[in-house]
Structures are given as structure tokens and as C-alpha cells.
Amino acid sequence: MNALGATLFSPLAGIFLLAFIGHRRWAKTVNLLICTATFVTALLLAIEVFQQGPILSVNKLFYIDGFNVYLILLNAFVGMTTAIFSGPYMDHEIAIGRVDDRRMRLYYSMYQGFLFTMLMALSTNNLGILWVSIEGATLATVLLVSLYRTHESIEAGWKYFIICGVGISQALFGTILVYFAAVRIIPISEEGLLWTVLQQHAGQMDAGVLSLAFVFLLVGYGTKVGLVPLHNWLPDAHSEGPTPMSAILSGLLLNIALYAVVRFKMLVDPALGSHLAGNMMMGFGMLSFSVAGLLLHRQYDVKRMFSYSSIEHMGLMTFAFGIGGPLATFGALLHMIVHSLTKSAIFITVGHATHVAGTQKMSNIRGLIRTQPFVGWGLLIGTCAIAGFPPFGVFTSEFLLFTATIKSYPWLAPPLVLGLAVAFAGLFRNLQPMVFGEPPVGQEAVVANMWPVFVHLTLVLWLGIAIPTVLAQWLNQATIMLVGKGVL
């Protein structure tokens, strides 16, 4: 339990600490140290969960089980590696004068704030707090998106704010409806939003209310997941903010929104006794997947392109959770990990690449392999990994997902496969000229720390070749919770 407290406390303390010292030259080290502390405590927490099983805190405010423990760990880990990257990246930004001291303080403070809200969202047992935290995550990042104060970044920030704000309000309405359904059957109304309690009574809640609630929740949290047609904020926000933030947005925030949707699906499914929620998720997933795949062909900005790739993958995961069944669910859970590791690695590389080329415009990024081989190769390998090539983990999860699709919905498999090919073509047609070819004159290597990328890709590689037993068991537990039976 102490580990949990520490995990939440260190970023919380970081918010305030860095708000004051964020402009110092050593702030990046402090940031990294805090993130490392968070990661270590998260690791301890994970060990605790591994040894004792699910943890419910005394006041029932926090609940850690197989489903969220690995996401907490992932969060802390990606937060830490991105902090490593963020150091040299922001140094470069300061050097070229894009940010000043005040904004650096804001940046570091909000970085921690973002991590805090996400850890909070993951660890809380209260669905209301879940909403509050996710809204908090929006608020923490909205100023990061517009950090550069350019027309585009302000536009992106405003759109992000309004679309997500409006969207998340709908999620709150959904939460109220769930609470409404719960208080009728739960004796203590104060506990009406506790996940642990609700889960026990899931079957008794009213189907009509819950189906209505799920629509609001899906549309609401779906906005944050980036499901088409609610996704419009996502490419803007990803492309205009500082790259470390894009990395954690894409790698973590989307996951957490999806986590929220899935948590609610677990409540709704037994009450409805039908596949309604799953069908809606499949529809959204398929739509997101195909639209994002097509839009990859029309990109001019490198970060924008990869944010569409995020939409595509979130769509894929939503689709998989929608299918239900152990295989698809396990695949989707695994995909959450590998996608966030890979995508954050890609964004880190892209960050360096944009510094190398001095622009985010893909037409001006050329011949990275020549100018800075590690960045070029990192981008290439990362994209291969995200495109689902073995031996990377994305391949494994997509394999599971496809087989599950063919088993349950064979007629959906061909469009899925087609979409995959379209998305791949979109990614690679833009990637190739950036990485290969002759670099333009004046393109020079920059200070880059590629260790995070290396570590991420190695992990993804590892997951592609063999999944550690611990992780497999957690995923399996989560699968059992979600669909009633596991794969192991």
C-alpha cells in the first residue's frame, strides 16, 4: 500500500517542486529523478500485486488488480524514458529560442501533473475520480499543446480543449447514469461509484440505463481515445505540442481513456447480457482503423502522420475489445503495451529527427540514415515495429487479434487486412524518403539520446519473441475479468 502512495506522491510533489525550479538547467535531472522514483515505486507496487494479488486500499479509494497494475508500470516506465529524452530535446528548444523560463517551469510541472493524473486515473477505484483524473489530464496537457504559442499550436490547444472538454462531459453524464443505476441496488450510496462494489452488482443493474450510460461513456471517453469521428483533436494536438508530450499523449493518455471504456464495458456487459457494447466498440474501432489508414496517405507533417497511426492502433484495440473473447482481449491488452512502447519510441526518434532537419515537414526531412544513422535506423525500425512486422511485439498482438476476428467475425477479416495494407502503404510511402536518400545540404546531426528508443524497441522485441510469465499472468487475469475466461 505504501508503494502505491509513493507512486502517486512523487509526481504530485513533482508538480509543485518543478513549478518553481523548472527553469533551472538541472530541472531535467530533477524531472528524471522524480520519474525514476515513480517508476521504482511502481515496480515495488507491481511486485506487491504480484505477490499478494489485487490490492484494495483501506478507504476503498484505490484498487490495483491485474488489469491496471501493468498499465501503471507502463505509465511510470514510459514517463521515465520520455523524461530521459525530454532533457536534450528541451535543451535544444531553449537553445533555438522556442521556449523561455516561464514556459519551462510550466512544462516540467505539467509533465509531472500529467503523469500524476494518469496514475491516479489508473489506480483509483472510484469511477467518478477516474473521470476527474482524465479531465485533469486534459487540463494538464492543454497548455503543453500550446506551449510554443504559434498560431497552429494555439489552434491545436483550443481544439483539444473544447473537443475533449465537450466529449468528457458526455462521459460524466454516462458516469452519472451508472451511479443512478447503482444507487437503486447498492445500500450505501456513497459506494455507488466504487468499481469493486459495482462489479459485484454488475448483473443486477438496469439494462436500459446502462446501455444509455455506455453510449455517453463511449462517446465521451472515445473522444479521448481518438475514435473516428471524435478524433479530430488528436492529430492537431500531437503535431503541435513538444514532442515528449506527443510521446506520452500517444503512448499513455489514449491507453488510459481506452482503459476507462473497457472498465465500463466490464460493468455493462453482464447487465445487458448482449453484445451491444461490443458491437458499438467494433464499429468505432473499424471506422477509426480504416479512416486513419486512409488519412496516412495525405500527411505532410511527420508527427501528424504518427498520430494518425495512433488513431489506427487505438481503433484496432477498440475493435479487439469489442470482439470480446479471450484471444482478442488478450491481444488487445498486449497491444496496449507494445503500441505505447513503440509509439513513444517513434515519437522520441521523430523528435530528434525534427531537430536534425529543423522542421516537421516531411518533404524537408531527407536522408536521415546518412546524417544521423541512429535516428534514421531508429525511425525505420520503429516504423517497421508499429507496422506489425515480426519479430516485434505488435506482430504478436495483431496476430492474436486477427485470428480472433476470423474466428468470431470472419467477414470482417478481409476489410481489416485491407486496412492494414492501406495503413502500411501510407506510413512507408512517407517514411522511406525521410530515412533514405541523399540528405539535403546543411542537415546536421544533433545531440540525441537514443537509449530510450533502444530500450523500448528491445522490450517490444522481447515481447514479440517471448512474453514473460508475470506479464502473461496479469494479462490473463485481466482477460478473465473482462470476458470470463482466460487464454492460459
Binding site: W158, K159, I162, I163, V166, Q170, S211, L212, V215, F216, V219, V228, P229, L230, N232, P235, L276, V291, L294, L295, H297, R298, I369, R370, P373, A387, F389, P390, F395, T396, F399, F402, T403, T405, I406, K407, P410, A413, P414, V417, L418, L420, A421, V422, F424, A425, G426, R429, Q432, P433, F436, G437, E438, I465, A466, I467, T469, A472, V487, L488
Partner: protein, 672 residues
Amino acid sequence: MDFTMALIIAESAVLLTLLSSVVPLFFLRRPYLQGRLSFLLLGISGLTACSGGGMALMLRTSEQMVLPIGLPWLHVFLRLDPLSGFFLFIVGLITFIAACYGPAYIREYIGGKLSIGPLTLFTGLFVGGMFLVLLAADAFSFMLAWELMSVASYFLVVFQHEKPENRHAAFIYLLMAVVGGAFLFLAYGVLAGFSDGFSFVAMKAAHLSPTWATIAFTFAFIGFGLKAGIVPLHVWLPLAHPVAPSHISAMMSGVMLKVAVYGFIRFVYDLLGNVTWQWGVVVLLVGSASAVLGVLYALMQHDLKRLLAYHSVENIGIIYIGLGLSMIFYATHHLEIAALALIAALYHCLNHALFKSLLFFGAGAILQQSRQHDMEKMGGLIKKMPVTAYCFLVGCISISALPPFNGFVSEWLTFQAALQGPLLKSGILGAMIPVAAAMLALTGALAAACFVKVYGIVFLGQARSPEILEAQDPSFGMQLSQILLAVCCLGFGIFPTWTVRAINGIPEGLLGTGLSSATDNGWLWLTPVNPQTASYGAPAVFFGILVCWLLVYVFLHPLRSDNRIRIAPAWDCGFGPLNSRMQYTASAFAMPIRRIFSFVWLIFEKVEPAGPGGRAHYILRIDDRLWLMLYVPIGKLMLKIAERTSYIQGGNLRVYLCYSFFTLLFLLWVIV
């Protein structure tokens, strides 16, 4: 007797390839050492794979092993049976020979702008992927290895990435590989849907309804066909093969396509079982089309490696003809004939691997020496690089299916299978098979025409560009590998009985019946059905040619009053003196065939008349009709849809909110 001996050997080959890709990375600063080390390990792994595969083929056992990696509930199954052993042998052999060829070939890259690190890394992964595909015995590891093979070869294709056309080729290649892989996903998915688990054993036990079986077959046919390069899925092949380094082209063309054929055989015969004759007809027709169109397209090429790539399409077509025949006979329970056709197809796999690698090695040697791709700039190389020239000649004769070399044997066996067509009761099939045979005959003749063109233009006559005059035979390793392959071509042509006997284990395993009759009459006679029907004594034929030659030579001697040979300028009907521009060009050579089959290509031909004081120009452009008819519209359509889709991201916030709003209303309306 340790039963898994061969499998362990094969696995060590895989490990060696991985070593060969990883270890040299520690010597990035010393490229010579790096290259040599990589090829050394690769060569050893090739030999190891060869021996493992050969062992499995000879012992005719099936060995299985489970490795505790992969997914937690789905471990990696590996299996080595005669079928995979045979292909492992082919891949191993070519890998070994390519490893002899490689060190000298990549020397030109060392010190250049390109680091050879990626080359060594991905060559190892590529070969390792191929080995693993052959060993995999569950869908997951098969797909893993398959995609690894694809993506590693992509990096090899794109290795010389300065040229935009190379990148384009690599992109198309990888895209097609992805599509192919996706189809395989679907194919295995259908099987997995009907069985409990992903292992091949479980899939074999699955009972599919005929409809589902046909669906699975279709997916597999397209998926493997994309990799194998059957028409009309071949378009990546002539793009990708020419731009890779030549030893890689040789491996891609020579063995990677065979791995696809392996996958197809494994899927259809082993996993799917219950072959229907309709599938066979499809395979037969597509095979015939690939063979004829492949060779016709090849005839029109001027780029040597591109031409060879198109010939791969042709040869894959021939292999598919064999497979189609085999499936038809298998479905109609003529097991012996089915075995014969299968053996013919497999034999052709081996042969094609040998002579296509040989030809690519030759093309690579020319490329390295003269830096010329374009045949129209070559000529007279036989005097500059004789070893390469004679080895290339062997390759040309073999690929043209002329006796006594190996290409002839497999085509002969295919013909023999086709001639058993009247055994079938169905008139439609009976009529179809002769047409396929006719196509095969046409293919063989056109291939010969094409290689007369290639050899005549490239090696004979006079040099058409100054670079050619600088050329000389490449270094020892490159010569050795060509000589080895040439000897193999001859050897497998002269001693077909031993080969057929070795392959025989495969139909025994897959069809339950072998073709023992083929080799019953001793090592001299190849008698596929029975001695009365047909026989071919390859060693005797070879011996006969030698004896005739010798006799003619000896008998002509006493007739000669004067043995001297006078060297003089060519007579040329008295027009003389010759220069290199007076020679027939490659496009001129192919002109009559271009006229005759003009409907196949999109030909743009124009003569620009000479302006005042200028020269007249002849412009000829020949395009792949299938590319323009099939692929360009698909690409355009997709971009059009993408453009339309882009309106969803129009930039106006209120419109975005409308989406959200109406989505909500719509869903609420649906729910209530």
C-alpha cells in the same frame, strides 16, 4: 538413434545465420573483417542447413520439437520432414554458394558511402527467416518467420537507397509482401478457426467444409502467389530483384520464391488435405499464364537483372503447372501421376534455384566489372570474362530447358505428367491439360529465344560501350561460386534418377504414394510411368553428345589438307568494315516476337525524323499491361478515397463538434 538429429542440425543453421547477422555488427569499424566474418558464418550455416535438410530427405523421417518461446500458451513448434528438408537443402546450398560469392562482390561497397552493416545484418536475418519458415510447424512461428523474411529482404532491396527508383521498388515490394502476408493470415486464420490451436498438427486434424476449404485455399493461393510472383501478382518481382545486390537477387529469385512454393505445398497438401480438382485447374491456368507472360515480358527487357527477374515469373509458372497437374491427379485419385507431377514441380524448384542463382551471379559479375545494367551497352564479354561467360552459357542452356542440363529434366517430367491427361474421365480437364502442355512448350521455346538474345547480345559480338572493354573475370570466390553452380546444373541434369529417388520421400509423405517406378530401372533410366511409356537416359545422352563431338572431330582431321585457320576481318557480304553499332541490338532481336505477340504489352513506338543537321531517333517504350490495368487504377482509387476522407479533418472546430454531437444522437437513437 537420436531422432531429432537432423532437426538439431537445422536449428543450429538458424542460430548460425542469426550469429552471422549479429556478430559482424561488433566490427563496424573494420568492414573487410565484418563482411568476411558474416559470409563465413553464413556459409557454414548454409552447409549445415544443407546437411540437415539432406539428412531429413534421405532418412524420410519427420522430427518435431517444441521450443518454449513465443506466446505463453503457444510455443514454437519446429518440424523437419522430407518436404521441408528438401527445401532446406536448396536454400542451404544456395546460401553456401552465395556466401562464397558475397565477400568479393560487396568489396565495392566498402569504403563507399554505404555502411555494409545493414547488409550483413539483414542478409543473416533474411536467410534465417527462410530457414525458419521451412522449419516452422505452427501458424504463429510460420507467419513470424515469413514476415521476418519479407522485411529483412526489404532492407536488402533498399540497401542502395540513393536512387529513387530503388526506393520505389523496395516500397512496392514491401507493400506486396504485406498484402501477401495478410492473405496468409487469413488463410491460417480460417484453418485455426476450425481447429483447436495453431500448430500444424491441430490444423491438419481440422475438418473444413468444402466452402471453407476453398476459401482457405484461395487466401493461401493469393498469399503465397504474391511472394512466388505468379501473374498477375508478379509486379514487385521485376522491380525488386534487379536493385538488390546481386548475391541477394540470386537468393531472392533463386530461393525465396521457392520458400513461397514450399508454403503453398505445405498448406495445400499437408494442412488442407482434401484437394479438389477445381483448385488444380486454377493453379494450372495461373501457372500457364505466368509461364507464358513471364517469358514474353522477359523477352522485351534490356536490363539484364530485370530480364532474369521476369524469367523467375516464368519458372514459377512452370512449377505451378506441375503443382496444378499434381493437384488435379491427386483429386481424381491418380496418385502415381500426382506424385510424378509433384516431383516434376519440386525438381524444377531445385533446378530453378540453381540456374537462376547462376545467372544472377553472372549478371552480378558483369555489373561489378562494367557497371552496366543495360544489355544494349554490353557485348563481346566472352573475350573479357571467359569463366563467367561459360558458366553463364550453362545457365542459359539450363533455363532454356535444353538437354542434357537440369532444366530439361524437370520440364520433361512435367510433360510426362501432362501426357497422362487422358487418364482423367472428365473431358474438360482432358482438354485443359493439353493446353497447359502447349503453353509449357511455347514457354520453353520462347525462353530459348530469350536466352539466345541475352547471350548473343551480352557475351558475343563486339563491345557496345567503352566500360565493357575494361571488364575482366571477377575474383576467385565469385568464379568459384559460378563454377560450382554450373557443375550442379550439369550434375542434376545428368543424374536425375538419384535426385528423383531422393525427392520421392516427399510424395510418399504427402500423397501416400511415391513414384518408385521412375527409378526402378537402374540409375541410367528415368522412367516416370513405365519403361514402355517413356524413358530418358540422361547420362547416355550426355555421353552420346561427347562421343559424337569427338568422332566428328577425329574424322574431320584426315580430310583436312591444311589445319591452319586464317584470321581475317568479317566478310559481312562484303559490306565491311564492322563496327559495334552495326550489330543487331537487343530490341531489334526481339522485334519479330514483339510484333507477333504485340497484344501482350503496351508498346509505344515512334521514330522521330531527323531535324536539320540532327539525327533521327527511335523511341521504344514497353509497359507491363497488367501494371497499368490492375495496379495503377487501384492506387488511384485509393488515393481518391483518401482525398475524400480527408474532408473529415477540415479544420473547423464546430464541424468537429457536430461529428461528436451527431454521433451521440445517432447512438442514442439506435439504443433506445
